[in-house]
């Protein structure tokens, strides 16, 4: 076991966990932040996506010992980000969600895309969001919501 100081959504958190514990389980089990979802556990589906120093990161495969001082942003804190707020509102406006399980990961990836590419093409969206799976197949609405959010960004 080891003690780690993490910065999650701007707040300092201390956890005492095994160094090999994936960040996902530290968030969910130790910090009780269950907005970030467990999907596949092998970084194949994107449900566990968080931002690590601004990079969309698959938290299920990153041991907590490798986080270091990098700030973590989860779905619980993404509305504090101006682009994150626009994306969340757009998701509601376009009624994207069906079962909702994958959507926190979808939103985290969408925000990362719009931060890097504020006016994405359909190809940009397909490439960037292609690693986030949705078993309800809400892909068409995800694309609409992303385009809608992009139009609202200045």
């Amino acid at each position: 076991m080891a003690t780690y100081q993490l910065t999650v959504n701007g707040q300092r958190k201390q956890v005492n966990v095994d160094p090999s514990t994936p960040l996902l389980w530290v968030l969910r089990e130790d910090l009780k932040m269950t907005g970030t979802k467990y999907g596949c556990g092998i970084s194949a589906c994107g449900a566990c996506t968080v931002h690590l120093d601004g990079v969309a990161t698959r938290s299920c495969v990153v041991p907590v010992s490798m986080v270091g001082n990098r700030p973590i942003v989860t779905i619980e804190g993404i509305d504090k980000d101006p682009i994150g707020k626009v994306v969340q509102n757009s998701w509601v406006e376009k009624d994207v969600v069906q079962c909702g399980y994958c959507q926190s990961g979808q939103i985290m990836s969408a925000v990362a895309l719009l931060k890097a590419t504020p006016k994405p093409t359909d190809e940009n969206i397909e490439e960037s969001m292609g690693g986030n799976l949705c078993r309800c197949a809400t892909y068409v609405r995800i694309r609409e919501a992303l385009q809608n959010a992009s139009r609202q960004l200045k």
Binding site: S20, G46, A56, M66, S109, A110, L113, G130
Partner: protein, 209 residues
């Protein structure tokens, strides 16, 4: 008088011996500093060793000709719809470092190294159907300074000796099932020695067929 002649003879022999030794050193150099430049044949043989490493999965999986990397010893397409993206670093929602950290994550089976990324398309060592290029074609790509980030022989040797992602091939970590990933067919020291011989021979390439 006889004694003087003997002394004179000894002195002459000594002077002759010293002169002969100096002549030998001047002509051939001391044995311990003797270096022989490898021949082109030596260089071509060494290149085949280098090539055997370059086309091993730990190296060639990130030297694709396509929009995606490969993984595994069977060199299958990288899972999770991973895309090459700008600079070979993935696309915004899924960059290489979304999963690959600065070091191997053995507890989750994800390999890692500093600034994990694909080699540029100019350094592709495969054809569009994921087949390795021939020894001659890879050699030409590696030595073409318009494609290899302007590296001459010495820079190529340094790259093979020191580049972090090259070194990773010999420390590739564990697979998700806990077993060790395979390493290239030569030890790193052998790879560097082969590269050195090839470079000292003038980086010769096999003829194209």
């Amino acid at each position: 008088m006889l004694v003087n002649r003997k002394l004179l003879l000894k002195a002459l022999l000594f002077i002759l011996a010293v002169f002969a030794t100096r002549l030998a050193v001047t002509t051939h150099g001391p044995v311990e500093n003797e270096t022989i430049k490898p021949t082109v044949a030596d260089g071509l043989a060494a290149w085949q060793d280098v090539y055997s490493v370059l086309i091993s999965p730990r190296c060639i999986n990130c030297h694709t000709a396509t929009s995606y990397p490969q993984q595994g010893d069977d060199r299958h397409r990288h899972f999770a719809n991973v895309i090459r993206g700008r600079g070979g670093r993935g696309v915004p929602g899924l960059v290489c470092m979304s999963c690959h950290q600065d070091a191997n994550a053995d507890s989750t089976g994800v390999p890692g190294g500093p600034a994990w990324h694909l080699a540029p398309l100019s350094m592709k060592w495969q054809d569009p159907n994921d087949r390795p290029l021939s020894s001659a074609d890879v050699c030409r790509a590696v030595t073409d300074r318009s494609k290899n980030e302007n590296m001459d022989g010495r820079a190529l040797l340094k790259h093979h000796e020191e580049a972090a992602l090259v070194l990773w091939a010999w420390n590739p970590g564990r697979r998700p099932d806990g077993t060790m990933r395979t390493t290239p067919p030569l030890a790193h020291a052998q790879f560097v020695a082969a590269t050195r011989t090839w470079v000292e021979a003038g980086t010769p390439c096999p003829p194209a067929k």
